[in-house]
Symmetry: none
Subunit: 418 residues, 2 copies
Amino acid sequence: MSAIVISIGDELVSGLTINTNAAWLSQQLATCGIRTLEHLTVGDDASAISMIIGSAVTRCNTLIISGGLGPTEDDLTRTALAAALDEPLVEDAAALADIEAFFRKLQRPMSPSNRLQALRPASARCLANTCGTAPGMALSRGNTAIFVLPGVPREMKAMFSQGVLPELSAGQTEIVARTMQLNTAGLGESVLGERIADFMRRGAKPRVGTAVHDGLVSIRVYAEGHLAEVEASLERTSLDISQRLGALVFSRGDVPLEQACAEALRLAGQTVTTAESCTGGMVAARLTNISGSSSWFKQGWVTYSNTSKVQELGVDEAIIATHGAVSDETARAMALGARHQAATDWAVAITGIAGPDGGTAEKPVGLVYIAIAGAAGAQVYRYNFVGGRTDVRLRATVSALNLLRLHVAGVDVRSVLG
Amino acid sequence: MSAIVISIGDELVSGLTINTNAAWLSQQLATCGIRTLEHLTVGDDASAISMIIGSAVTRCNTLIISGGLGPTEDDLTRTALAAALDEPLVEDAAALADIEAFFRKLQRPMSPSNRLQALRPASARCLANTCGTAPGMALSRGNTAIFVLPGVPREMKAMFSQGVLPELSAGQTEIVARTMQLNTAGLGESVLGERIADFMRRGAKPRVGTAVHDGLVSIRVYAEGHLAEVEASLERTSLDISQRLGALVFSRGDVPLEQACAEALRLAGQTVTTAESCTGGMVAARLTNISGSSSWFKQGWVTYSNTSKVQELGVDEAIIATHGAVSDETARAMALGARHQAATDWAVAITGIAGPDGGTAEKPVGLVYIAIAGAAGAQVYRYNFVGGRTDVRLRATVSALNLLRLHVAGVDVRSVLG
């Protein structure tokens, strides 16, 4: 079962409004085993709408159209749909009665333009709108079921959930589609892809793909079929991939990296402190995103200047004078000093050059040292991040959280990250 | 001049990821008078991509394609594009050299799959990627200019801004569309809307609308026409609105609130420190987003526990014992203590209940005190934010930055915010 989702509206093609309807509809369709092939977005232009509908009908068996059902001059979906399917528009008496009742309830007069909203192609039936004036429509052409919904998200979702989904679920075979997501940190997408190349080969079932966002690489496992088989297949493949990748995987689904840190600390009954220079508080901010973090995080420092590194963390001035603020030695001293000051089990320290200024030939922009201090002393890791100020700070933050997680979990970092 | 924007990726058509690239690209295209006709989104399927490209090329004169340029098996854009245009793929020596240099800088080995990213259709040239490995491509077919960009938003935007926009701007006609944006903080959208209701009535030219995001309200002014008239119209209306709203407006365009803080501090030649409890470092992180912040920001604290407020900031234990950690008195003591410790002109202190736990009848979730300390002493502001943990922390951060900005600029806060 395949679908195409058409979204209509000038505000969408001009980019003024982000299209969230199409993504929501695709997720809903997937729950009844209907796979979306395309999202097509077009402006308030009757012939363009007509053309895109006429073409899409031939390429899928479920066509969902949203937008352009309002009462204004820009609302052309009814007209364009009728033209595409070569049918006349007729007035639906029940739909007209619904619209009249809506305005009676609002105690507002109905305007003539609202009457246009009761028109539909001759072979269609109307779908009730419980949140607004525009009725939707349902019809079919050949093997394709067509559903037309309002563009206003709240109205669209209500109508889809009440008037479309039940029909699609009933018509489905027991076929569903599900996705499972594994989140990894520490390796780039291409190297990770090579490690699970056999899972990712074209035609493999379940289908496995990778995506990059915010300095992390997620692995998505997708399967279609009968529910029980799909769930078993996803679980099996996710476990196999997790076993292959070991500690590179920090969570499943939408569990963020900082939550993996939180769980490692809670499990160990340990505390952590932070001493940040170039990341300016980003690591502490992410750790404290986690509800209940106050049981394992008590304080942190943003020691942006050399003086504050000395005064707040007890870093030896001579170290900074000799090696510089951005150095293995300074990172180490920051971590050890913070851990001592805060009397915690762990400390994370970061010092680096975020850019765009401050880089030199020996110490370029993107050079960052991250130190993790624990009972056994401090380990320092050196990175050369690529990108602008935001990229460097984000990647440093993510790397620091990941190193903390691995250390607290007792994993040998070098063997995992190389 | 018309455009079609194609976005490629399973994560998009399945609805897992919202398509923000297409909207951004359409807004960019509008600035050079290029009107977007359609957004087409398709999954990682070579023949579907090929078909959609082949069709789109005939319907517009500017075709922007993003996504599918990574090094994995799912990355099919290069292959599909070459098939659609019936050209062979060739390896671009300069692009390959760029990719090799990227990995050398990261001090990581390049994998064979990355080499595929240097392939391009024979008639194309590569566009440099300054943030990642995938080069983009530029070519033409008949009257249509085709640009192919990575799907990762940061990489796509950088490449478009540097490698595509200059070329498109050079070729534009006289009719352009422009948007000017005014950014405000401190008032809700509906109250703000009432203050500029006359500007926002239907049919007004230029068109004025408001949008809410990240705890701030932006005002967008939009006009279409000949460049000179459009610019004059936007400028005039923006000035009128700015005069009406006064200090509520902190910047134009994409200048963030923290930059307004930075400029106020630079202008005054003053420094600031931060002492954060519930915001956990978010304020310091935003201030240090600004390049050059080291000249006015030297250090900050995240004093999450009561002990750390006492030990690091010198807050009197008795104050916390009597009034509680979340109180006017504690916020005041934190700000005064931090200002003294850091020897800065200003200090921002925040203490509150982010939730979901920790609230009581007298001190509910969302209660936050923000104190700004300066030469004349400390002012404390009390808020009751609505929403979850993330909302409360974000709104507290934004309010703190806004209060800092107003104080440093010498504005009477109560008269602006009520």
